[in-house]
């Protein structure tokens, strides 16, 4: 019974037993291994790592198993674990230009140095259920054939020796057609913020905004980005470059004084090219929106880049008013662990507050009735006359 939840230790223990039972499902069906989740539900693992803000496939797979596939719950588990980890310091900035890219596309140019590489993608598959996958042993997915047939010669997905892949936006930058990605030399550069160590203050700078968006809920950013495309704060976006692959992480221990490689992570990066009409003092040029996430998280990276660009409206002196341009609105509501906690807290007992409300509403209703009666009393003799 719900009422027993107040201090009902027995009830809680019972509920958790039921949860464990439900998570396991029919014991006649073999139990799923975390290695199977990591290998075969990779996109779920990637999302949990990105929004959980911790690159660890094993832990993310475990969280997904423990959360019975509820990804926000899994993200929550990872965040709660992450917070217990000691911090050694910050890595060196990733050299994304040196990525061993497994996928790299540009929507702005038909061909680019290094080529368009489709890589593993749902794009151009037909969303027809493949019933062969239902069969045990998993027959070969025919969409795979379709996909490779669609790539043709021009779009090689053979991972052989790769041509260098200079950044597409650098091409525009060399012509001065797009704003610089780095602060001009000589500018005072303030240290990068850290939202896990400092509470966010508004107005926030772009470093803090990007960190918040990187761990923000995919669905929320998707909807926010989508709203800009539908006219609520239009930014004229083009996907200049999307790349996914492996990059090396370097760390500089203070005692060594030079950076050492500590591992490799998979990331997805999206560099958006957006229009900027210029001002009285500035030439028209293209501007940037940026998205980055762990693993293969393209939807997230693209959405993030759209929202990043929208939130730059203030810096670029643009008219603002749409939800996606409202920094405080976006940053305060993008974190799904915060959001789910507060939304779901409505399940907690609120007897005391509700009792006060009950009492108040009863009193107001009584007062309303009394006032009505009094009015009628006054009206009566007049009606008689």
């Amino acid at each position: 019974m719900y009422v027993a939840a107040k201090g009902g230790e027995k009830a809680i223990a019972g509920a958790h037993r039921l949860l464990a039972e439900e998570r396991r499902g029919d014991p006649a069906v073999s139990e799923i291994g975390t290695d199977q989740i990591s290998e075969q539900l990779g996109r779920a693992v990637d999302r949990v790592m990105t929004e959980g803000a911790l690159f660890d496939r094993k832990l993310a797979a475990l969280a997904i198993k423990q959360a019975a596939g509820d990804l926000i719950e899994a993200i929550f588990l990872i965040r709660a674990y992450r917070t217990t980890l000691p911090r050694f310091g910050y890595s060196e900035p990733l050299k994304v230009s040196d990525m061993r890219a497994r996928r790299r596309i540009s929507a702005t140019f038909k061909d680019v140095p290094g080529g368009q590489v489709l890589g593993p993608t749902f794009d151009y598959t037909h969303r027809l259920l493949d019933f062969a996958l239902e069969a045990e042993g998993g027959a070969r997915d025919h969409s795979v054939e379709l996909h490779s047939a669609a790539t043709g010669d021009a779009l090689h997905d053979d991972p052989g020796p790769m041509d260098p892949m200079p950044r597409v936006l650098d091409q525009l930058a060399s012509e001065g057609m797009i704003e610089d990605s780095e602060a001009p030399a000589g500018d005072v550069v303030s240290p990068v913020g850290d939202i896990t160590r400092e509470p966010t203050e508004f107005p926030a700078d772009r470093d803090v905004r990007l960190q918040t968006l990187a761990r923000g809920d995919e669905g929320f950013l998707l909807a926010m980005g989508y709203s800009t495309q539908r006219g609520y704060g239009r930014t004229h976006p083009f996907a200049g470059e999307i790349r996914m692959g492996e990059v090396t992480v370097e760390f500089m221990p203070e005692e060594l004084g030079f950076p050492i490689e500590i591992g490799e992570i998979t990331i997805t990066e999206c560099e958006m090219v957006n229009q900027f009409k210029g001002t009285a003092t500035e030439k028209p040029k293209f501007t940037r929106g940026y998205g980055l996430g762990f693993g293969h998280v393209e939807r997230k990276a693209i959405s993030m880049a759209l929202v990043d660009r929208s939130l730059r409206c203030r810096d670029l002196g643009e008219e603002a008013g749409a939800p996606a341009q409202d920094e405080e609105f976006v940053l305060s509501h993008s974190d799904n662990v915060q959001a789910t906690g507060f939304v779901e807290h409505l399940k907690l007992p609120h007897y005391v507050d509700f009792q006060s409300e009950l009492e108040l509403v009863r009193r107001m209703r009584a007062e309303f009735d009394a006032a009505q009666e009094a009015k009628e009393e006054i009206a009566k003799p007049e009606a008689a006359e």
Binding site: A150, G231, K277, P284
Partner: protein, 298 residues
């Protein structure tokens, strides 16, 4: 055979689905919307867009329109950015091959039905052809007024002042109209219409075209049309007449100076090449002996 029964698919089509994927009732619903759209040129007809096996924004509107009008003796061409070999065009073409078994072509002249994204073919179309456009945002006033209730009222009252003010502001700020694609047009002297994100270079081709032009927007659930031989005027001002893009270059492969050119980056030193966006047009010119600066005779 009654009207709702399936058309007989060709032998090579996937027998698990109806001809052209959609069921016959759905096709009739879409055809009714198309007929209404043809009867009121440029007017956006709402229709009960279906979930399709490709994502919204990737041509679901165009695919539904094509599925509703395609017959087993049609010859289909699918282009994206002017080219038959772009990935999404390949994907959509293979979808229709799989679900209809119709003959396909890359030649504009040979096609009876052309589905396109972002371009109108350079080769002039004929009365025997239908051009189906994939439309992401059908509402030309959307970026001036995000609310559908408002924009429908504006269309009903022919209240296009806001659009003219926007174009005027462009001229005031930049000295010219700063819209290069999805450039608004007025159809048959009544409705302002979004030509879909085709470059404005293609707008003149829509005017008095002998082909039927159909526009499908799946996510936004709208169909609109330009019937054959209909006046399509790009919005402008007397002292700032509409102009299309010009290039300093000719196509590097076929030497064309009258086609829309794509810029291709050749290396990281900034070397560029300009080539026809319409791959069939380029091919046809090269076959006829035209050679561009970097082309080789076929």
């Amino acid at each position: 055979m009654t009207a709702v029964q399936s058309e007989t698919p060709r032998a090579e089509a996937d027998s698990g689905y109806n001809f052209a994927y959609l069921d016959e009732q759905t096709k009739r619903m879409i055809r009714r919307a198309i007929l209404k759209a043809v009867a009121i040129p440029g007017y956006q007809v709402p229709f009960a867009s279906r979930e399709m096996p490709m994502p919204y924004g990737w041509g679901t509107g165009g695919v539904q329109v094509t599925a509703a009008v395609i017959g087993s003796d049609d010859v289909l061409k699918v282009i994206d950015q002017g080219s038959d070999d772009t990935t999404n065009a390949v994907s959509i073409r293979s979808f229709f091959v799989r679900t209809t078994g119709v003959e396909t072509t890359e030649k504009t002249r040979d096609a009876t039905l052309i589905q396109t994204r972002h371009r109108v073919p350079e080769t002039p179309l004929s009365e025997d052809q239908i051009l189906v456009y994939q439309v992401p945002i059908p509402e030309p006033l959307r970026f001036l007024e995000p609310r559908e209730t408002e924009t429908r009222r504006m269309h009903a009252l022919e209240d296009y002042g806001l659009m003219h003010v926007k174009l005027y502001e462009d001229i005031a700020h930049h000295g010219h109209i700063a819209t290069t694609y999805a450039y608004p047009v007025k159809v048959a002297g009544r409705y302002v219409m979004d030509p879909s994100p085709t470059p404005k270079f293609d707008n003149p081709k829509m005017n008095h075209s002998p082909a039927l032009q159909l526009f499908g927007a799946g996510r936004e659930k709208r169909i609109y049309a330009i019937p054959p031989h209909t006046e399509v005027v790009s919005l402008d001002f007397e002292d700032h007449p509409f102009e299309v893009q010009q290039w300093d270059n000719a196509c590097a492969l076929c030497g064309a100076t009258d086609s829309f050119l794509d810029e291709v980056i050749m290396d990281d030193a900034g070397k560029r090449m300009f080539v026809c966006s319409d791959s069939d047009y380029c091919e046809e010119r090269r076959a006829a002996g035209h050679v561009g600066e970097e082309g080789v005779p076929l």
